[in-house]
Subunit: 388 residues, 2 copies
Amino acid sequence: MQAVRIAGAGSTAFGASPERTGRDLFGEAARIAIDDSGVPRAAIDRLCYGNFVGTVTERQGHQAPLMAKAAGVTAPATRYESACASGGVALKSAVEAVRSGAADVVLVGGMERMHNVTTERATEGLAMAADHLYESRAGVTFPGAYALMARAYFEEFGGTRADLAAVAVKNHRNALGNDKAQFQTEISTSDVLEAPTVADPLGLYDACPITDGASACVLVSEAYAEENNLDAPIAVTGAGQGTDSLALQQRDSLTRTPATTTAATAAYDEAEIAPSDIDLLEVHDCFTIAEVLALEGLGVYDRGAAIDAARSGETTRDGDLPVNLSGGLKAKGHPVGATGVSQVVELTKLLRGDHVNSAAVPDASLAVAHNAGGTVASATVHVLEVRS
Amino acid sequence: MQAVRIAGAGSTAFGASPERTGRDLFGEAARIAIDDSGVPRAAIDRLCYGNFVGTVTERQGHQAPLMAKAAGVTAPATRYESACASGGVALKSAVEAVRSGAADVVLVGGMERMHNVTTERATEGLAMAADHLYESRAGVTFPGAYALMARAYFEEFGGTRADLAAVAVKNHRNALGNDKAQFQTEISTSDVLEAPTVADPLGLYDACPITDGASACVLVSEAYAEENNLDAPIAVTGAGQGTDSLALQQRDSLTRTPATTTAATAAYDEAEIAPSDIDLLEVHDCFTIAEVLALEGLGVYDRGAAIDAARSGETTRDGDLPVNLSGGLKAKGHPVGATGVSQVVELTKLLRGDHVNSAAVPDASLAVAHNAGGTVASATVHVLEVRS
């Protein structure tokens, strides 16, 4: 099995770019990642690409050939779709391709463009990540679904809106100075608590925004990196994926995310690590409650214990276990198909020391990325480690 | 590298099933394939699933978890989308997973449901396989795009509508008695030539139909098959994929399909075969001209030489090189996301001797499946061989 290195990583600015096409966005992210890697385009053996609702927002399916062209790549290109985990599943496939020797160099990335359509249309698209027959058709949108999960969590373990607000406040603070982030502004707990309710108990600031953007990484085998003298100090040492029932009603519990746990267990086993070895994480905080559930599903907090992590300071920039130093989906933004790759772009920079928040984790050597789709019917977990 | 065997294969009936949901269709195909394999569901390590326009026709993205549930599988599930080659790319990924040892058993399949929406809406969805900015937005639908290719072919190499009609007549004849096929009826050359023109020079019978249906295969490693005494005589010995510019206007030629050639070259190299070794093929005949272009792209005919293959009888049921013995997309039907897998289901049966047309190829030991997306911006080629 080939060891996998990240040779290059890059993202567009995240935010509202209604005038930029998807191919334009992805082309930029790919160019940044490829330039960062020092790998010639002709060496790229395949493109693994994540996108969720391009058929809804750009009337464009079959995006992989389009994005290969935009990236200047002629190798075989495949689109992966697993709702908000589309980037994560593309990444897992890219890791497997390098590991198995099927490819020496893989360009992996994702893109989403949603600000060119109305908010209603974007919401309609996002709702397609839920079970149409049993959820979205009945009017359950994602704020509603995560509100059910938050309410169940509060009932089972306690917790308040103020506890969740600390997640939003933390992630906005982390995004300060992250020049790719959609919101580089601080918010206060009272901003969160006084914001309009979206789906009780979740308010406007408990939710991540709608985001246009793209991210890409160049993965190479360790052998390729050595032969070509690439500066690629970050290794992907674990990759896991989990799948759960799509509809919430088919789950045993609204406060467990077994797909996350399945993915984490597989990734940790591969990397031969325990949750206690993790120095920092990027987790899928599409809503504040999602960060809480992710940290518990990942085994870094016991069930019922992660609700207070942000408020107690443990997961803040200066805490023992910084979470979402990029700003997370909440403040960095959530260009759906790109998010799973974007997390790895941010962690690569954080671990290499070229991120605005690298100073907060000077000795970090092991990071975990967690990407989820829908109400965590899909999840991927990747372990990144610094290697000499 | 693990050798890959097909342990089970199955499809739903293809046709119009507007009352059946996508999950219902896929659940049936998966059940047939799993039952055929003798593999317990708990042994399945992953689901690779192809679907194209579920967001348009069922307002359902994120289908992989849904289809895993429908198949009774709890393993990680991923959706692949490459337009009409979605099934093929899912299959290639499944083959790679078994080869690399990442999985011992993979359920691979695909599904499309389109008869539950209007023909206009289905056409709108299918058009999303083309470049929206440069093709579909300008009014180019797939009959129009393939008509351009047919006209260019006629100008470059000669050929007539009657030559193409022979492809449709052949494929309809092949579908007689194939109990899964959408059209189990013969047509005559004059039926084809007198049918309404869809996009000159292509008429109604030059085009494949809109189809609801699902297909699935169970792939296993040779070691798993041996250890579990599975009857799995068909091996996948080659798998290739190619990508081209999405828009026709960006191609050097309208009569070449380089993505097919790239995929074929890779698959033949892996299998260590030459085109002359092939006993029968299933190729992507979404239009009659597409079968001609496929046979040339695959290297089984020289450029300009495949136009007469069906009329001269070479590719008919009783010819030297039977093509689309299933009936092809033309008569068996084209449930888009399932098609690439459906071709392998049909070839598996043909090679095992349990297909209505097996009698036509009693000594066949090597078959090729060719799946294409859009105007062949994506293509996959798989080589199947009979093993003891």
